[in-house]
């Protein structure tokens, strides 16, 4: 319990600070992580966490291996994220992902009246429909969602556009405008700021599967049914609309990440982060 309380203090109370730090480390103007580790300046390159699992039709083992080697740091990042999620929950998504964090922080700055509420749309079917096409379309030669619709390219360009011509060029084309609009509608203007993560992030989709498969073993946000009065406070603050109310609150591990806002607001102390009892 002591360890869980300590985690709560650092990762729960310091979450906003961690997200801001993540922006500084990953995004322009500094992009420290990329500048320190490679000659890249953003996720598009050695750190690309998405392209390696969008395999093109007719690609041989050499091309697949080449794709993995080209973005080996992105591959390592995804592997690390999936393994850590299995045991500890989706901390990458909730705390460390600079792209999701940028959307959520942007949403915090948006007046409540302007926010769009997507919580009536079940996220999982949308997300896995998108993931299916993301993987299958290039494999079947139908086309590709990879790169064209990538907020991991759009958000760094948005932060860098004031400084670098190449980043400004990103938005002088249809895909740049589409990605900008998607980011605004599904992140900055979305209640909770995480609709893009919930609907259209392939890594988030894989991460959610890892969270689901590991829920019996790893630490997760859980509801103690005996204490829950189904007051709905937790559902109101959940950025990923992962909580449903029946006789008690229920957490969908396919959408939940441990931001632990629900834990903070629960008047009964019925929500905890930990292993299954």
């Amino acid at each position: 319990m002591a360890v869980e309380e300590k985690n709560k203090a650092v990762l729960s109370r310091g979450r906003t600070l961690i997200m801001v730090l993540s922006l500084v480390l990953f995004l322009p103007p500094l992009a420290v992580i990329f500048q320190a580790s490679s000659s890249d300046i953003d996720f598009c390159g050695t750190w690309c966490p998405r392209m390696f699992f969008a395999v093109r039709q007719g690609a041989g083992l050499g091309e697949i291996a080449g794709g993995i080697m080209r973005s080996y740091l992105g591959v390592a990042l995804v592997a690390g994220v999936l393994v850590s999620t299995f045991f500890f929950g989706r901390y990458w998504c909730s705390h460390f992902c600079p792209i999701g964090g940028a959307g959520e922080l942007g949403s915090k700055l948006t007046p409540a009246k302007m926010k769009l509420d997507y919580s009536s749309i079940p996220a999982a079917p949308v997300r896995y429909g998108y993931l299916l096409v993301y993987c299958a379309a290039p494999l079947l030669g139908l086309g590709s969602l990879c790169c064209s619709y990538c907020n991991f390219a759009a958000v760094p360009s948005l932060f860098g556009a004031a400084f670098v011509s190449a980043d400004l060029d990103y938005f002088l084309r249809f895909y740049g405008i589409i990605n900008l609009v998607l980011f605004l509608l599904l992140a900055v203007l979305a209640r909770g700021g995480r609709a893009y993560c919930n609907f259209l992030c392939p890594i988030g989709a894989l991460d959610a599967l890892s969270a689901r498969f590991g829920q019996g073993i790893g630490r997760r946000v859980r509801v103690t049914a005996e204490r829950c009065t189904a007051c709905g406070s937790c559902r109101e603050v959940c950025p990923t609309w992962a909580i449903s109310l029946e006789s008690t609150a229920k957490v969908d591990q396919l959408s939940c990440f441990p931001c632990r806002k629900c834990e903070k607001v629960c008047p009964e102390g019925a929500i905890r982060y930990g292993k299954a009892k």
Partner: protein, 197 residues
């Protein structure tokens, strides 16, 4: 499983498939390798022939043992000009080697470097038409596609090797004038599905 879940999943698949299939050809992205003997791109860059301006994003890694400078040219056709913007850090922390890009040339490329070049391509059709009417030649530099691979006058180097037919974004070793990478450009009718086929 609920009917609404299946319906939403199906709708998501359909919309995503349409989005994946349809491409806006005002821009394209090509990935390749800069290497001695000539690297190739993963697939050609496909652009809309009806448009007057395009954005091409070319990313490439430098394969050992190449080391040196590389000049970038848009070659193999007429009527287009290009401006180049290298993707650089907003604030260069100097933590890692980075080649310098000036004008149309990368300087001090080293093995395992990676470049990301944004190329704004613009048609010069109107300029050419006006020039022919008044009997004047197109100003030097207005058409980047003619007689490439050009080389700075007086260099004494032979014409570039490995030149291919059709438009291409090409990178040439400034020391030998050998092609290090060629990215074919294909101009197609507006919109559509082709993605590097």
């Amino acid at each position: 499983m609920k009917f609404s879940t299946i319906a939403l999943f199906s709708l998501s698949v359909v919309i995503s498939a349409v989005a994946a299939h349809y491409r806006f050809h005002d821009s394209a992205h090509a990935i390749g390798m800069l290497k001695i003997g000539g690297g190739t791109a993963r697939h050609p860059a496909v652009l809309d022939k009806e448009r007057d301006s395009h954005v091409l994003i070319a990313t490439a890694g430098v394969v050992p043992p190449f080391r040196g400078n590389a000049r970038v040219v848009l070659e193999g056709g007429r009527g287009l000009s290009a401006t180049f913007h290298n993707a650089e850090p907003a604030v260069n922390l100097g933590l890692h080697h980075r080649p310098e890009f000036r004008g149309d040339t990368y300087y001090d490329l080293r093995p395992k470097d990676r470049i990301a070049l944004w190329v704004r391509i613009t048609r010069n059709d109107k300029l050419e038409s006006i020039s022919s009417q008044i009997g004047a030649s197109v100003p030097a530099g207005a058409d980047a596609l003619t007689d490439c691979p050009q080389h700075p006058a007086g260099s004494g180097l032979p014409a570039g090797k490995n030149r291919s037919a059709g438009p291409a974004l090409a990178f040439y070793d400034t020391a030998t004038n050998d092609r290090l990478l060629g990215i074919p450009l294909r101009f197609v009718a507006s919109g559509g599905a082709s993605h590097g086929r």
